[in-house]
Amino acid sequence: MSRIWVIFSFFLLFFAAIIVRLFYWHIWESSKLRDAAAGQHLIRFSIPAKRGNIYSSDGYPLVLSKEVSLVYANPREIENMYEASGRLATLLNVDSASISALLSLPDRVWVPLKHKVEKETVDAIKETGIKGIGFEKESKRYYPEGSMSAHLLGFVGADENGFDKGYFGIEGWYNRELSGKDGFLAAEKDAHGTPILIGETLRVEPENGRTLTLYVDRTIQGIVEKKLSQGIEKYGAKEGAIVVMDPKTGGIISMASYPSYDPSIYTEFEKSLYKNPVVAGSYEPGSTFKSLIMAAGINEGVIKPDTIIDESGQVQIGEYSIKTWNDQYHGKISMTDVLKYSSNVGMVFVERALGEDKLLKAIKDYGFGKPTGVDLEDESSPSLRKDSEWYEIDYATASFGQGIASTPLQLVRAVSAIANGGQLLEPHVVKSITDDKGKVYKTTPKKIRTVLSEKAAKQVTEMMVAAVDYGEAKWAKPKGYRIAGKTGTAQIPVAGHYDAKKTIASFVGFAPADNPKFVMLVMLVEPQSSQWGSETAAPLFFSVAKDILLYLGIPPS
C-alpha cells in the first residue's frame, strides 16, 4: 500500500513540476520567449510615421515635414571602393576619408552614410549608378518662413537612439502628438536572415503625427518680428522681446524675441539661444507692475481713481528712501495721476492702504511665482520669496515692480485680467489638434480664477488710458485710438545692487481699450539711445499696435 502512495506522490510531484514549468514558459516568460522566437524567424522593418505639420491660425504652414532619405551602403556590393568613395563624398558633401573608412569596415553589410539627404542629391547619386547604395525614407522639418517664430516652435533633433525628437517650444511640448506612432513590416526569414518570398508577412501601418494649428497669426507675427528687429537696431538694445495675447481666450497671437536662431540649422547656434526668453527669462517688471497693484487696491476698495494723496517728497522706510523716477514731486495728485506720473511714492501709499497680506495675496492671485501652464516646453517661473522673508521694504518696492521677478508672459497674462474684466486665463499657443483621420480637438479657454471685479478692471483701464494719453509717451500714440498702457523702466540687479545705466525698458498695454483685441508687452534690454521705457519700448509698442489695428481693420474711434 505504501508503494502505491510513493508512486502516486512521485507522479503528483512530476505533473506538478510540469505544470509549474509550463506556467513559467507560457505565462511568466511568454513575452520574452515570443520575442526571442520572433527574432529567430521574423525580420522586422520599421515604417516611420510622418511628423505632424504646424500651421498658423490663418492656415499658413509654419513647419512642414519634408521627405528626405538616409543613404546607406552595402560595402560587399561596391565594385570600385575608391572611386565610389570619392564620388559619394562630393555628392554628400562629406569628407572622402570618412566615407572610405565606412565602406572598408570588415563584415558589414549595411553602413549608414548620411541622414536627411535631400531628393536632388538622392537623384544625383542614383544617376551615378554606383552599385551597393540604398536609400531609406526619412523626414526632415521644413520652415517656409525661415527663422520666424523659432523660439515659439522649437526644433527637432535626435534622441539618444538617433530617433527624431522635439526640443523646446511647441516641438518639445507636443513631441508625442507630433511624432505619431511608427508602423512595421514583419516578414519570415530564412537561416541566412533573408526574407522568404512566400512566407507570412504582417504589416502594421504607421499612425502619422497630429497636425497643430496655433493661435499665432502669421501676419501679426511678421509685423512683430520686423518691428522688433528694427526697434532693437534703432534703440541699440542688447536683447528684446514682444508678446501679443488675446485677452479673451488666452491665445498667444504672436511671440518673438531677439537674438534668435534658425531651427533648420540649430546646431550652428549657441545653446543659450534655444530658450525662449518670453517664458524662460526672468526680469523685474518695474513700473509696468504698478497698474496691477493699483487694480488690486481698487478691487479691495481701499482706494479709488480719484483718491488724493500728497506727493510732497521721498518716503522713508527704515534706512531706505523711496523717491520718484525723476525726483520731482507734484503735491496733491489722484491715483490716476500716480499712474500717469508713474509715481513710486504714490504706489507706496497704495501698498500701505492695501496692507501687506492683501498685497502678497494679490501678487499670488495674478499668478506670479508659478508657471502659467502655457504649452511651451521651456517655461520656468522665478519663484517668490517665502512669506516669512518679506520685509517692509520688500512690500514697498514690490508695489512699483522692483525686488520681484517675473517672466514676460506672466506679466502679459496678469495685464490680460485687467483687459478682459478680471479673469486670469491660462495662456495657450495651440488652438486645435487634428489627428491622422481628420478629427479636430479644439483648445478651450481655461479660466484659472477671477482676480478683479469687472468694475475695478474698467476703472483701471480708464486710468491706463489716461496714463497713455497724458503720460510721458503720449507723443508716440497713434491718433484716434484708445489704448490702455503703462511704461516701465527696471534697473538690472547686478551683484546685489542696481546698475543705474543698465535698464530693461518695457511697455505693456492693450487695444482698443473698450473692447481689447490684444494685450502686448514690448521689452528692450539695455537700450542705448535712452534708458527709459517711455522713449524706447513705448514708441515701439505704438508702432506695432498701429500696424496690428490696421491689419485687424479696426478704425480710430
Partner: protein, 97 residues
C-alpha cells in the same frame, strides 16, 4: 452499379479539369487585381508625395520673405499713413500712400 462506375470514371476527371481551370482563372484574376492594387497604392503614394511637394512649393512661394521680395521688385512701398472709411455701421481702415 457498373454504369455508376463508368460515369464516375468519366465525370471525375472532367470535374477535376474544370476545377483546375477555374483555379487558374481565379488565380490569374487575383494576380491581376493584386497587381492593379499595388499599382494604385504606388500611384497614391506618388500623388501624396506630389501633393506634399506642391504644398512646400506653395508655402515657399507665399512666405513673407518671398512676398516682400516680389513686392519690392514690383515697386510696392511701405505705406506712410492710414485712412479709415466709415459708412454707417461699416468701417474699414486702409493703408494709404
Amino acid at each position: 452499379m457498373k454504369n455508376i462506375g463508368v460515369a464516375a470514371t468519366i465525370l471525375l476527371p472532367i470535374i477535376a479539369i474544370l476545377l483546375i481551370v477555374s483555379q487558374f482563372i481565379c488565380t490569374n484574376e487575383l494576380v491581376a487585381i493584386s497587381s492593379s492594387v499595388k499599382q494604385m497604392d504606388s500611384e497614391i503614394e506618388k500623388t501624396q508625395a506630389s501633393i506634399e511637394d506642391f504644398e512646400q512649393q506653395i508655402a515657399s512661394a507665399s512666405s513673407f520673405a518671398a512676398i516682400s521680395k516680389k513686392a519690392e521688385e514690383l515697386g510696392f512701398i511701405v505705406p506712410q499713413k492710414a485712412v479709415a472709411l466709415t459708412s454707417s455701421q461699416f468701417t474699414v481702415a486702409l493703408h494709404t500712400q
